[in-house]
């Protein structure tokens, strides 16, 4: 697979590195970088402690109720998630809940701050909202084929989010994370009393629990692809840009 991809672009692979001026751009502002690394920690703790909580009753249902004598749509026997995937690593529901419900604050409060400020400072509208041009099928298909050939944007285009990035970031920030939080709250009996619409909206506490798990799975898929893309796009430059904010702009292709 890898070889075929490299062969497809022999010019790129064989050309000697041209003496291009190093262009450094300031790509990520400090609040973005802090939020990113806080989330990197928080999301892992949430996922791993969440898997431990799931281990306590590894069955998912649709509807208002669901327990051992009801019919689950997903069911495992025993404790399905192994110690290396859970916090803590040996079965302890009480400890997992303490981790989960404490780190939930670190997820929710910065998320709310981001949602508010990104609209106020127009980051959402300016950088994340797909343009009319970008959502045309031809454009999307072009980006998909370029990604599949591992030809990532260069020059000024590398400083903007491409449409696939926009879809995934908007999907995670404005859909998946809010759904995680709301389905999490819908599982709280006290919150259900305060905000009865939670249970109405998700059609039951057990449905909310199922959606919570599905969204967690999608978040994990995002993380895997995100990390893969970082490695493919040049991990040193990408990680540095998320630490210092400075990004070395890949020069335009000679053959482009």
């Amino acid at each position: 697979m890898d070889e075929a991809v490299i062969d497809a672009d022999p010019v790129e692979a064989q050309a000697p590195p041209p003496p291009l001026p190093r262009r450094i751009a300031y790509r990520h502002r400090l609040p973005t970088r802090i939020w990113h690394w806080l989330n990197a920690l928080t999301v892992f703790v949430m996922l791993m402690s969440g898997l431990m909580i799931f281990n306590a009753h590894p069955h998912l249902y649709w509807g208002q109720y669901g327990a051992n004598f009801d019919r689950p749509w997903l069911s495992f026997s025993g404790r399905p998630f192994p110690g290396w995937a859970t916090i803590p690593s040996t079965y302890n529901l009480a400890a997992a809940r303490r981790w989960h419900l404490a780190f939930a604050w670190l997820l929710v409060v910065p998320l709310l701050l981001f949602l508010v400020t990104s609209f106020l400072n127009r980051h959402a509208q300016r950088d994340l909202r797909p343009t009319r041009e970008e959502v045309k099928p031809n454009h999307i298909w072009h980006d998909i084929t370029e990604h599949a050939r591992l030809r990532f944007p260069r020059g000024d285009a590398a400083l903007r989010y491409n449409i696939l990035q926009k879809f995934s970031y908007v999907g995670v920030i404005f859909v998946l994370l809010p759904l995680m939080v709301l389905t999490g709250l819908a599982m709280s009996p006290a919150m259900d009393a305060a905000w009865p619409w939670l249970i109405v909206f998700f059609q039951g506490r057990q449905s909310a629990r199922s959606i919570h798990f599905i969204c967690a799975t999608l978040l994990l898929a995002f993380i895997v692809i995100h990390l893969l893309m970082v490695v493919l796009a040049g991990p040193f430059n990408e990680i540095r840009s998320m630490i210092t904010g400075r990004f070395r702009v890949p020069p335009e292709r000679g053959d482009a």
């Binding site: 892992f44 703790v45 791993m48 909580i53 799931f54 306590a56 009753h57 069955h59 208002q64 109720y65 669901g66 327990a67 051992n68 004598f69 009801d70 110690g83 290396w84 995937a85 916090i87 803590p88 690593s89 040996t90 302890n92 529901l93 009480a94 400890a95 809940r97 303490r98 981790w99 419900l101 404490a102 604050w105 599982m187 709280s188 009996p189 006290a190 919150m191 259900d192 009393a193 305060a194 905000w195 009865p196 249970i199 506490r205 057990q206 629990r209």
Partner: protein
């Protein structure tokens, strides 16, 4: 001493995990995590109106089978005797910080006009079951006993034991005086069965299931939970580190 082979085998996740387990074993870190429980409780108490009701369902929503959890049969000779007598001598004691300590016969409790509510029981493990509960509002019992203004918590002493430790639970006055907090004697149109806490159990509808203590024998009003058993306000709180506030 690090086992090298194992270290390499488990890799980065093992490294992170070892860190998490170490943190989890540190009393100071556990206290940091625990402080989130206070934050959560205070926030929920701020957001949730004092008398906001847990959702009440219709007959059609009842779980076909309501599973039981925890003790299915208290294994003391006293309880066996009570069960044999059909609980005719069961009494609910109300004492502690009250002006009029009570000892209410079960028959009297069952004869008073009561509340019926179809609510969802949420276990800390994640499952939910919907049942119909028949019982007397705890607030009426506490009013009858003339609760002292010094009382801050209501403790429920139960007839079942885990090993040699009796089950007990406690709630604060916000939940104690909530209209859906009842001392239930019936479920789904029948008297309570033994696995569901016969003859009396607590229902605290805005918290997780372990707060709804079964086999309740004695209600005690106290100013502090510090000197009751392990001091954390409940059997699971003392022995498994579950949160005392289980609204989430």
């Amino acid at each position: 001493m690090i086992n090298r082979r194992r270290f390499i085998a488990t890799g980065a996740s093992g490294l992170m995990l070892g860190g998490c387990d170490r943190l989890n074993n540190s009393a100071r870190f556990r206290n940091v995590l625990r402080s989130a429980e206070t934050l959560t409780m205070n926030t929920q108490r701020l957001i949730v109106p004092r008398d906001a009701l847990a959702r009440e369902f219709g007959e059609a929503d009842l779980s076909p089978v309501f599973r039981s959890n925890g003790t299915a049969m208290p294994d003391t000779s006293e309880y066996a005797q009570q069960l044999k007598e059909n609980f005719i001598n069961w009494r609910l004691a109300v004492d502690g910080l009250v002006a009029r300590p009570l000892s209410i016969p079960l028959a009297v409790l069952r004869s008073i006009p009561h509340r019926v509510q179809i609510t969802r029981h949420d276990c800390v493990e994640g499952w939910s079951a919907i049942g119909k509960w028949h019982g007397l509002e705890l607030s009426r019992i506490l009013d009858a006993a003339a609760l002292s203004t010094r009382a801050k918590y209501i403790v429920f002493h139960c007839a079942d034991r885990f090993g040699d430790k009796p089950y007990y639970e406690s709630i604060d006055l916000v939940d104690a005086f909530h209209p859906q907090t009842i001392i239930a004697w019936g479920m789904n149109g029948q008297l309570l069965t033994v696995p569901h806490g016969a003859p009396l159990r607590l229902r605290v509808e805005r918290q997780l299931g372990y707060k709804s203590a079964k086999y309740v024998q004695r209600i005690q009003a106290v100013e502090s939970l510090a000197h009751i058993y392990g001091g954390k306000g409940g059997y699971w709180e003392d022995n498994a580190d579950y949160e005392w506030y289980a609204g989430i």
